[in-house]
Amino acid sequence: MNCLLRAENLIAGWQSAATEAVDLVLAAGEIVGLTGPNGVGKSTLLAAFAGRAQIFSGSIELRRGLRLALQTQDIPPVVGLPLSGRELLALTTAGAGGLPPWLSERLDLRLDRLSGGQRHYLALWAILQAPADLILLDEPTNNLDAAGVGHLTAHLRERAEAGAGIVVVSHDAAFVEAVCDRVVVLGGGNGQ
């Protein structure tokens, strides 16, 4: 198995521990969902995988030379900024091929002229399509309508089939069920 990420008895947090002990192995081409109630530390775990949050006990091993892409729940600050969708994609060297028509025809508009959902999906696409082996997504379906969620689901499967490993934090049970190979539920003792 081509292992990208291995977490053993991992407890992560910021100033203090914020998660239960978690074991997780992610192989290339696999999509793993992290679910559980609010405050259980799903986003913190994702941040720990990205090297941002503190590890209080246990360990994280990432494959050597791994290229990471991280999408957080923070909305990119583009209101009032003259930045077009095409320029946004160029920042992360993401390609525009495969974008849904309702976005590809608006690529030359300023991001602050797009609707909230369009802007969110384009911002997400710039991360998804960036060259990466491991993609970490935090609530990617926020602000997306059914068409957006459907397109995202299909695209994540394509990315996984192309060899990327993906960890998805989400409250959207239908989306998690449709896209993930495995689900780790946090909040009920040892996450697994």
Partner: protein, 254 residues
């Protein structure tokens, strides 16, 4: 304009009219437009201190602004939310005004910098603006993608292993030095008008980042040209005329 007496100051100002609106776009991107006023005041204080100490004002201005730009990061945690720029502005203004009030030598230069006179620029200033400005534009071009990425996706920027501090500190230092250079030649408010107003309009009206940069550049150059001619014909100080022209243009375009 064929008169060499005015040609050198004109070209010196033209170099700054190209440089400052572009620099201003990146300062605005980082919500640091107040930095222009802060570094200009620090540069003015440094220039006057150097003059009183018997040194070249240009060196004093560049050194003071450079130190402020490089040192700002050391106090970043305590001086968040733009407080560093407010303190630098107040400190620079206080020192400059006190020196001008107590040192006859400093009074004339102080007036020139606060009034915004461009006509004292000689060939030495012209070369310094073109060499430093050219270098500054090149560095800005190299930093551009990183500055945009760090603003839009700060987390992605970090997880890709890109180090933020060389880019941020490099930009701070570059902005401080270029603004000091502009203040020495164009005065505090003339430089501020070119750093603030063209980017403000470009951010409101630009179709994308590239067209925004072009728009800021065009507004800066045309306003500068008109203000320079008007100041000559009307025998008025250049800085206030440039600022009034840009304000009028701003109210129409915005």
């Amino acid at each position: 304009m064929g008169n060499e007496l005015f040609l050198v100051p004109f070209l010196t100002g033209l170099g700054l009219a190209i440089l400052l609106p572009l620099l201003g776009c990146y300062l605005r991107l980082r919500d640091e437009w107040l930095a222009a006023l802060a570094y200009s005041h620090i540069a003015a204080a440094g220039a006057l201190l150097a003059l009183v100490a018997g040194l070249a004002p240009m060196i004093g201005g560049l050194a003071a602004a450079g130190l402020a730009g490089a040192g700002k990061r050391l106090f970043a945690r305590r001086l968040s939310g733009g407080a560093s720029y407010a303190l630098l502005l107040l400190g620079g203004w206080s020192v400059a005004v006190l020196l001008a009030a107590n040192q006859p030598l400093a009074e004339r230069l102080g007036h020139a910098m606060f009034d915004g006179q461009l006509y004292f620029a000689g060939s030495e200033q012209l070369w310094s603006v073109f060499v430093s400005g050219g270098l500054g534009l090149l560095i800005l071009r190299l930093l551009s993608q990183h500055l945009l990425l760090a603003h839009v996706y700060p987390d992605f920027f970090r997880v890709r292993g890109l180090k933020a501090w060389p880019i941020q500190s490099g930009f701070d230092l570059l902005a401080a030095l270029l603004l000091a250079l502009a203040t020495m030649n164009m005065g505090i408010m003339g430089a501020f008008a070119l750093v603030f107003i063209p980017p403000w309009l470009a951010f409101r009206r630009g179709r994308n980042w590239r067209s925004g940069l072009w728009m800021a550049l065009l507004i800066g150059i045309l306003s500068y040209f008109a203000a320079f001619i008007a100041a000559l014909l009307l025998d008025q100080p250049f800085g206030p005329l440039l600022a009034l022209l840009l304000i009028s243009l701003g109210l129409v375009i915005a």
